[in-house]
Subunit: 417 residues, 2 copies
């Protein structure tokens, strides 16, 4: 049952993708604004459907945090509407021609940016992803199949109904945006096998879901498992700047993937810098897990063990290690980082440049908070996710990462010798 | 045994990759030229090892074509040496900084081009791929693991010995280029599971090998299965130009993936154009497989059946279909093409532009032979392969496609609000 539904959806999505790919920017924007209008008008309907999910979530004993993520409050609904307006305002990446050159034989060869085709999105909990992801995929000219969490099924189907109504009103094949209506887990497996119809899978959720998707997909997957972000305080760092960046990176929003998890401190300044930080950590409510050299300086802190170095705490805990210098810092990062975001705090020009060049993470920073690793902060306009694998995209992904480029060739009767 | 060898190799490659990634362009070029010199000096050694493979190939009854592909003749050896010089002369893609912008808060955000890491190459027969692929991967700053066909094992190991000698002489970890020494099939399966060490797999060979790799890999794969290339002769086409392009596309080298396999002809000109072509096809030795409307015009041609439309003949056979116009041509292409290369022959500006925009293939051409779909012809400098899937690269892949981009961020104590 789930199998047939998914195959039918995937085939229909592929059919719709050709039509979406050739929509003008104007039509795509009009469609997005119509979805925004409908969201405003049908707020009561959405709230009722969301309430059904919340009631059964309470029955199942979901945590307060889970229920909060599931709730389509007025604030969340406003943010969906604003998001649609923002995506409509973004430049359309499709059709951009680049690297056009005349070859020695007069052939004109260049590249044209085109949509990927059909994108499968597998996500947990937050039903607003249904709108945000659909908007970005449509703007980039793609069809999308959405498979949200079973606990949000009624909310997701309500949102899909609104999008499909807008698609029909704009005379676009409603198969351009589809929400999987079965909560059967088999649906995910089947979706991951539709390599003839689906071009890309983007999973968003816990590490378990993402690993399951990566291991079972025959379709390319863009993903990140976790963010074990590092800051290295070099010997030349300005202490006040370092303190501000570290506290911001760790404590501004500890539950997200670009929050700081490990602090590396140059041995030459550790004896001075760590006590300088201790009061600040206490004030921010940050608990430490220190290496032996850290503990020698801050005897009260808890000892770190081997499990702490690759750990994503997602709470107000920070692992701290004293290192001999830049090389040991970069070796530690190479061994333990998740290729998400690393920052150096330094006044040494050479060390800053080496760190930027040699650290292999999707975001590498100098004298800035790891919290800036975000599509919006980078100016991508909106973010569909983050990739920590290097194929296709590395780091925050915006509209452009939902497209690819084909070669276009203009000849005048050219044949090859 | 094979399993352990592969895991050890993959781990070593990942270790070497960090060192290769930070090599200067000068050192990389010196290394490539040293390999070229050694190839010249050790020609007798290579010839002896190649002769061992050829002798056992003859014993196993390999076809003359297979033995020809296996032979490291003086001509092939010269082309390897020339290839090394050409790759050394190419611009180094690594380190290029692009899209650097100042954000409203003063943060400088840009992207830096970096190597992918470790590339696994799985290929059949031609031992010169060992040198060509290693050269491109090294120039792009990557480590590489090569797994050639069992029939070429002695030749491949001889070439690997020469490369590793050059690596050692240049004080680079020889694990930067490794050839799998076991011919055990299990080696491929194990290689495809090393997602912690290997970043990309590129298979080159028959469709069977490529499907096996795609279905069993946990690592991203860049590949193309086959090239079912189409030409559409529009009503406004110049007949002489069309004839030249079609004969060149089909007959100049029929055994390669960018050769033409299906000809679509506008119904308005079919009754005139097909008889005009008949003599030319005969002269070029091209046999036809025609749709009913084609057969009505050229009664002597063999009938095409449904199997002909998606077929890659790789010989002097051409499927021919009469279509009502551009839309039917593009529908047929969407249904049957392999996303390799399609060309339109037309004098109609609007149709040329629609074809370029709407046809979803990695190379889309106007008034040019499909045979131009090639990294060298496109000016990429050299080609590591062709991708007909859209993630990361679509079409011929050069040095740049062996790299990715990370975000680099320069702040001055920036923290997030």
């Amino acid at each position: 049952m789930a199998v047939e539904e998914i195959i039918t959806m995937a085939r229909a999505a592929k059919g719709a993708a050709r039509a979406v790919a050739s929509m003008s920017t104007e039509r795509k924007n009009r469609l997005l604004l119509r979805v925004a209008d409908e969201l405003l008008q049908q707020r009561d309907f959405i709230r009722r459907e969301n309430e059904t999910d919340l009631a059964s979530g309470r029955d199942k004993g979901l945590s307060a945090a889970m229920l909060d993520r599931l709730t389509l409050s007025d604030k969340v609904m406003d943010s969906m509407v604003n998001g649609l307006h923002e995506v409509a305002a973004l430049a359309d990446p499709v059709g951009e021609i680049s690297e056009m050159n005349k070859r020695p034989n007069g052939l004109m060869v260049g590249r044209m940016r085109i949509p990927l085709g059909v994108i499968g999105m597998i996500y947990e909990s937050r039903p607003n992803v249904t709108i945000d992801a659909a908007a970005l995929c449509l703007k980039a000219g793609n069809a999308i199949i959405l498979r949200g969490g079973s606990e949000a099924i009624n909310s997701n189907l309500a949102l899909a109904k609104i999008i499909q109504g807008a698609l029909s009103a704009e005379e676009v094949d409603p198969a351009a945006v589809q929400v999987v209506s079965t909560t059967d887990r088999q649906a995910i497996n089947t979706l991951l096998e539709q390599e003839n119809y689906v071009d890309l899978i983007i999973p968003r959720g816990g590490e378990g879901l993402i690993r399951f998707v990566a291991e079972n997909s025959r379709i390319p997957v863009l993903k990140h498992y976790k963010g074990v972000c590092h800051a290295f305080v070099d010997a030349s760092a300005d202490f006040d700047m370092a303190a501000a960046i570290i506290i911001n990176s760790k404590a501004q929003r500890p539950g997200v993937c670009n929050a700081l998890e490990t602090l590396l401190v140059h041995a030459d300044v550790a004896a001075e810098f760590l006590p300088f930080m201790a009061a600040r950590f206490k004030e921010a409510g940050v608990e430490l897990r220190g290496c032996p050299r850290t503990k020698a300086i801050l005897p009260d802190c808890q000892a770190a063990d081997d499990d702490d170095w690759p750990k994503e705490y997602l709470e107000l805990i920070l692992a701290v290690k004293v290192v001999a210098g830049l090389d040991e810092a970069m070796d530690h990062i190479a061994a333990h980082c998740s290729q998400h975001t690393e920052t150096i705090i330094t006044n040494d020009y050479g060390n800053a440049q080496r760190f930027i060049r040699e650290v292999d993470s999707s975001s590498v920073m100098v004298n800035a908070s790891t919290r800036f690793a975000d599509g919006g902060q980078y100016g991508l306009g909106a973010e569909i996710g983050i990739s920590t694998t290097k194929l296709h995209a590395y780091g925050p992904m915006g509209l452009k990462e939902l497209t690819t480029r084909k070669f276009i060739v203009y000849g005048n009767g050219h044949i090859r010798n």
